[in-house]
């Protein structure tokens, strides 16, 4: 297969094809989760500065009301996900481990939970700066997982020129289908979001890149594009060959345009801005109504989940509540030994099920004890230099040599000679390694050590 691809010209070089595992959730409509008795809104859910709470303990809040705001450029407000009363503002566990400042809201059991805040706006007339301000007020961050503030991403730097908006609908991670379902069900909101983003950036064309294992999403987006007749420019939906990690913006730009984003540069250096479909669909849905981001679509799936599917979850819902409703049998039993936030290739295993769903959580994958034991059964060998990792690294690095250097703690050499800084930790090398060497895990350690040395 690889040999064939080599001659055919692939979407991008190298990469891997993990089993997609999406069948359990791809065909199911998005369902709404009930409101939990208590939500936890961490103040820092994105890359940048944390906003400060603007509510007091004991204050009643309405769903959609801003509860934390800030003035910094890389700071977006948070909105109350439920109607209720602020119970506490203190430290709560986070996915990364440490306890972080959070706002805890107890929801009113009898409240209708309608989104009553916000005033409808006419976005057809809005100009670029107004759209950026509105995006920021909506509290939008990248919903694909990185959680970078969207208004900062849509802001074109001075002296730069953006001609193309690339919309990332690849969803290359196994198991996850939230972007897929959003494209199928909210295609009109997506197209509106694309149009607003084009106006905000000045792009004259937009291309939605969708992996070709989601033909229904391509059809839905194409139909919505045809309905919209965008005056901003051309919008295309393009199927790209399925391959991991196509959801990385560098790989997607390579697949669509055959051009490499230079090392260390952003897509804007090629005149492009890349955004996730989930983000733009939320943008298109929220901006005209003037509401804030209070919920998101989360894929709850994995071998340990009895009722897998895509759920519309209020932000701040504890994972325990989500998993109970999806039919995962309690945390820490043999049926759900490990819960992963995000996809299985890059997602993060969590220590506590009291961690809330935040803006960057695209999926929850639950593994059983047996799944982990199956992985433990395979032995670790020294590197046999098969070269499979070199063949799979989308960034064109040499994980084999890097791994041997990491074992010898030659971190400086890894950074200076072997381009460790280019690694974006997609995990392809560890995935393919027949010797089961934890390559990407070692690279994470090495990058962290180098960061600390650089800071010191």
């Amino acid at each position: 297969m690889k040999l064939l691809n080599y001659f055919r010209g692939e979407a991008f070089q190298r990469g891997v094809h993990p089993p997609p595992q999406k069948a359990a959730t791809a065909g199911r409509a998005i369902r709404r989760l009930p409101f939990p008795p208590r939500v936890t809104v961490p103040l820092l859910q994105h890359i940048g500065k944390a906003p400060q709470p603007v509510v007091r303990v004991g204050e009643e809040v309405v769903r959609g009301q801003p509860v934390a705001t800030g003035d910094d450029w890389l700071c977006v407000p948070h909105h109350a996900p439920v109607t209720g009363v602020v119970e506490a503002i203190d430290l709560r566990p986070s996915a990364r481990g440490p306890w972080v400042p959070s706002i805890v809201i107890r929801s009113h059991p009898g409240a209708t939970q309608e989104d009553l805040w916000g005033e409808p706006r006419d976005m057809e007339a809005a100009a670029g700066p107004d759209i950026l301000a509105a995006v920021r007020d909506a509290g939008l961050v990248g919903l694909g997982g990185a959680a970078f503030p969207t208004h900062a991403k849509l802001k074109v730097p001075d002296k730069a020129h953006v001609h193309t908006l690339v919309v990332n609908g690849c969803e290359c991670e196994p198991f996850l289908t939230c972007d897929h379902r959003v494209m199928v069900e909210d295609a009109d909101a997506l197209v509106l979001g694309i149009r607003l983003a084009m106006r905000a950036t000045g792009a004259v064309r937009a291309i939605v890149g969708i992996e070709d294992n989601k033909p229904d999403a391509v059809a839905a987006v194409e139909a919505a594009i045809a309905r919209a007749r965008a005056p901003e420019g051309d919008i295309h939906a393009e199927a790209v060959p399925t391959k991991y990690p196509q959801g990385s913006e560098k790989m997607l730009v390579m697949a669509l345009f055959g051009a490499e984003i230079p090392a260390g540069a952003l897509p804007v250096s090629l005149g492009m801005v890349v955004n996730n479909v989930g983000t733009l669909a939320a943008l298109g849905a929220l901006l005209p109504s003037g509401r804030g981001l209070t919920e998101r679509v989360v894929t709850v799936t994995g071998p340990g989940v009895a009722r897998p599917g895509d759920y519309r979850v209020p932000l701040g819902t504890p994972l325990r509540f989500v998993l109970d409703h999806a039919g995962a049998k309690g945390g820490g039993t043999t049926d759900s030994r490990q819960a992963v936030l995000g996809g299985p290739m890059m997602g993060q295993a969590i220590a506590s099920l009291d961690v809330p769903v935040t803006k960057g959580v695209s999926g929850i994958v639950v593994f059983r004890h047996d799944d982990l034991a199956a992985r433990d059964a395979s032995r670790t060998y020294p590197c046999i230099k098969c070269g499979e990792c070199v063949e799979s690294c989308p960034m064109g690095l040499n994980p084999s040599t890097l791994g041997m250097l990491a074992a010898k703690r030659e971190y400086e050499l890894m950074g200076s000679r072997y381009h460790l800084g280019e690694c974006f930790e997609c995990g392809c090398c560890t995935y393919v390694c027949p010797s089961r060497i934890p390559l990407v895990q070692q690279f994470r350690v090495a990058k962290q050590v180098l960061r600390e040395r650089a800071a010191a």
Binding site: M345, K385, C386
Partner: protein
């Protein structure tokens, strides 16, 4: 263990390749080759394969007991070493010498360096090089293939007592009245007697009582299976055979009377076996794609040079060993170009959309004349297609 969650770093899924699986597939692919070898040479070849492989496994087991080795017996790597070593030895090779060669192959070729993955040289070839130096007569004595009664009777040299000089195979052959046949390989025949074997004899080793090693076509077919399943890298055999063929063709074109045609060069002796199974040994070949081409080309050219200009009829073994020694250096100079650091501003052929919607930028205009494409790994010229409506 109930009531605990486990936290592991990503990735949380793992591909299905494993060291055992790769090695097992190589062993399976060697089974037809070995079977044909036995079919050609009879019971002596079978005994040789069994004894050499057994010696490799026993040595591996003994070394693993010391606790200084990586790997384990069940990873099949010692089996591969044994089978390959047996395939490179003459079928009538005395069994005790085969056992010594197998033990040396594992002990000096692999165990000395620390075991699986740490070896610098291909262990099978280390064993073969030792046998070549220690038992020069025995290793140069080939018996013809397809002898009648080969399944009932051992070649007498096979059954020599340990440390004893084996019986003379030539006398045994003369006794059995195969006077027209020599026990020389086609390469030795060409080198020392000036007789060049034909294509059919070389390819299938079926026609006459030729003293040819395992059939090249069968090896190529098994190698193609492995390459298709990605258990070996197709670049290395392609580079070895391509470079050897090109070098032989060039010399043949210069002086057809003196140098044989490239076809003879490619399919005689152990070149195909070496290219497909020996040069591709993972631990001793480069991991970088460009390095694989360089490594294969080096082996191919060295093979031709050794065969034509040295006193030896066969050069594949030393060529591969030299290639193994050069591997770290080759890897050093052929590191892959990281994404975004190659030739910039050019677009790959066959992309869905032009880089810029309305105009051709300076970078794209420059992309029409690509330079140094082979060295700088990729971006080919841009094909400007209008955006699909």
């Amino acid at each position: 263990m109930t009531g605990t969650v486990e936290i592991r770093p990503a990735p949380h899924v793992q591909g299905d390749r494993s060291v055992e699986r790769i090695m097992r597939h190589v062993v399976w692919s060697l089974v037809p080759v070995c079977a044909f070898f036995v079919f050609q040479y009879g019971i002596s070849a079978l005994a040789s394969i069994a004894v050499v492989t057994g010696a490799c496994l026993a040595t591996e087991r003994a070394l693993l007991r010391t606790g200084t080795q990586s790997g384990r017996l069940a990873d099949f790597s010692a089996v591969i070493t044994g089978l390959l070593l047996a395939l490179t030895l003459p079928p009538g090779f005395p069994l005790w010498m085969g056992a010594v060669a197998g033990a040396i192959a594992i002990a000096l070729g692999k165990g000395l360096f620390g075991g699986l993955g740490f070896n610098v040289f291909n262990p099978a070839l280390v064993g073969r090089a030792f046998a070549q130096a220690a038992f020069p007569t025995a290793i140069a004595t080939y018996t013809p293939s397809f002898l009648p009664g080969r399944f009932a009777e051992f070649v007498p040299s096979s059954l020599a007592w340990p440390l004893m000089i084996p019986a003379d195979a030539a006398g045994w052959l003369a006794q059995r009245r195969f006077d027209g046949l020599s026990g020389a390989t086609p390469l030795a025949q060409w080198k020392f007697e000036g007789i060049q074997a034909g294509a059919q004899e070389l390819l299938l080793s079926l026609t006459g009582h030729m003293a040819v090693g395992p059939a090249p076509l069968l090896i190529l077919a098994c190698g193609a299976y492995l390459a298709a399943r990605r258990f070996l890298d197709w670049r290395i055999p392609a580079a070895v055979l391509g470079a050897a063929g090109a070098a032989a063709w060039g010399l043949h074109a210069l002086d057809p009377g003196r140098y044989p045609n490239p076809f003879f060069m490619l399919f005689s002796g152990g070149l195909v076996l070496g290219a497909v199974y020996m040069a591709t040994d993972m631990a001793t070949s480069p991991v970088t794609p460009r390095g694989m081409w360089a490594y294969g080309a080096l082996i191919g050219i060295l093979t031709v040079v050794i065969r034509y200009y040295s006193g030896l009829p066969e050069g594949v073994m030393y060529a591969i060993l030299i290639g193994n020694a050069a591997t770290p250096l080759i890897e050093r100079v052929t590191q892959p170009t990281p994404f975004g650091r190659g030739v910039l501003g050019r677009a790959r052929k066959g992309a869905s959309y032009p880089l810029h919607p309305g105009y051709i930028s300076r970078e794209e205009a420059g992309a029409v004349t690509p330079k140094k494409r082979i060295l700088l790994n990729r971006p080919k010229r841009d094909e400007r297609k209008p955006p699909a409506r």
